[in-house]
Subunit: 286 residues, 2 copies
Amino acid sequence: MQGEKRSKIAGERTAVAGRSDADEDSRNLVNSLAKGLRVLESFTAERPELTLSEVASLAKIDPGTAFRMLNTLVMAGYVARVPDSKRFRLTLKVTDLGFHAIARADLRELARPILRSLVGEVNEAASLGVLDGADILYVERVRAGLTRIGVDIRIGTTIPAFWSTIGEAMLAFLPSAELERVLSLKPRPGVFPHKPMNRSEIEASLKNVRECGHALRDSYFGSGLRVLAMPVLDVDNYPLAAVSVAVPQIQMSSKEFREHALDAVRRATVDIARAIQASGSVSAIA
Amino acid sequence: MQGEKRSKIAGERTAVAGRSDADEDSRNLVNSLAKGLRVLESFTAERPELTLSEVASLAKIDPGTAFRMLNTLVMAGYVARVPDSKRFRLTLKVTDLGFHAIARADLRELARPILRSLVGEVNEAASLGVLDGADILYVERVRAGLTRIGVDIRIGTTIPAFWSTIGEAMLAFLPSAELERVLSLKPRPGVFPHKPMNRSEIEASLKNVRECGHALRDSYFGSGLRVLAMPVLDVDNYPLAAVSVAVPQIQMSSKEFREHALDAVRRATVDIARAIQASGSVSAIA
DNA sequence: AAATAAATTTCGCAATCCGAAAAATCGGAA
DNA sequence: TTCCGATTTTTCGGATTGCGAAATTTATTT
């Protein structure tokens, strides 16, 4: 079909409107590179070693092609033949590529593009916070614009954990022993609008968050913002950090907000979890 | 030999005998995949963002080709365009490949909860490493929290075995023939703080570790950490892996550290050894 | 030993990829 | 602003090279 189009000379490209899009996309791509990447992707943690025919069927390519692809990857050092078997496996050279993706970047840099993807049309701001003693430390924050928002949180600010929506999201997923320890710590001094809640209020609130998987409420700081926060969980469901987004209370109801933001925030937390796992620890504030 | 056969059947492509080797190599390779990999490799820690023309010159390919390669990588999700600029950068998806390359997901999973039990009030971090050639590969690592700790080791990192405390713990329990073989191998390149020790120093150090049953020393990496490591031995006393824990040097002396951590670490190594035996998965990487 | 399955190689066709060069776009400098 | 230079993006023809089917070799099983 592409052959036809080509022979028709360059005039009629958009004759068939429906097709021109797909063709246009594929025009500037390299198919064999895409196939080679599919070969790499067919190796997983569960299936770290594969035979030629397994690769062929997983990557949906002809065995002959798979053979050539694997040979190329072996040449390049990304794949090795397992001795005394017909199987292949990824080498550690592949991990070098990954490190280049994240090297030198601290948690803030890794999180910033992800947070940026959360603010836009509706969301005013997105933040990333971590637990530091009894407080939440704001590690990164991205705002939609410089306009609006009176009271704002700066990077480096600390707020007692259970006055922060981010804090709620994290505390709710802490193992109970850890939670006890954190609640027994004394928050840093500062001027805050509310008096501390009593223990049973905290329990009830955290239970609710744990069940929903997120915390959602109006800001305690009189900024007129509605805030939704979700924890960044590691593979064992331990909270490493939490992400929040905010919209003006007048702009949408809690229900609308949740419907609108929840999936995007969840995706962001997964991305950040991956970034943290991949990069190991990085000092929160450089 | 294959060249002969070929020329009998298929005409004169191999007329010039000298060339047949080169032809033979390239016959089963896919050139555009190799070029695409060079594109990925042109991103490094020092140059995490590149323009099209930089990629083209670094990967030694035509700008037009580089454009198509980058488009393909963007499609596949391994590269992203940096907003508001003409630059490209690797995405975190690249790190996924790396994790698939790290051997035995099950080993990590069974070790993680055990490592987690080692970190807490005093210990900053606990790690599990295996021998990979002449290097130690960090397979899993659990930290106390995201704050604190400057320099840290990522999962997937490799360090020449005798610069790593985990390495000392493993080498000390290797059969002497194996030890010879490992010491004769060349570690992966990298920037490391110390020059290699000479042979007699290594001997003395390993002898000491063998007698104590553990390795204990200050990190060579200037992180201000004190590290204690013990091997995970199978039923034949062959070292399958090693566990380490770390505390800040200022927090306690070596003596206190040993008294505090030794039993817990020993229990952890025994647990991991048992778990490995139970799950049947034994072999490290060749 | 035979049969079956998998891996590797062959081979011809043409689709695809390449490179050069044109076109479009961006970024400064004047 | 307008112009110029550099970079990115698209075009295009041609031949390279990658593709798939089938043949051959190798291994695995019955």
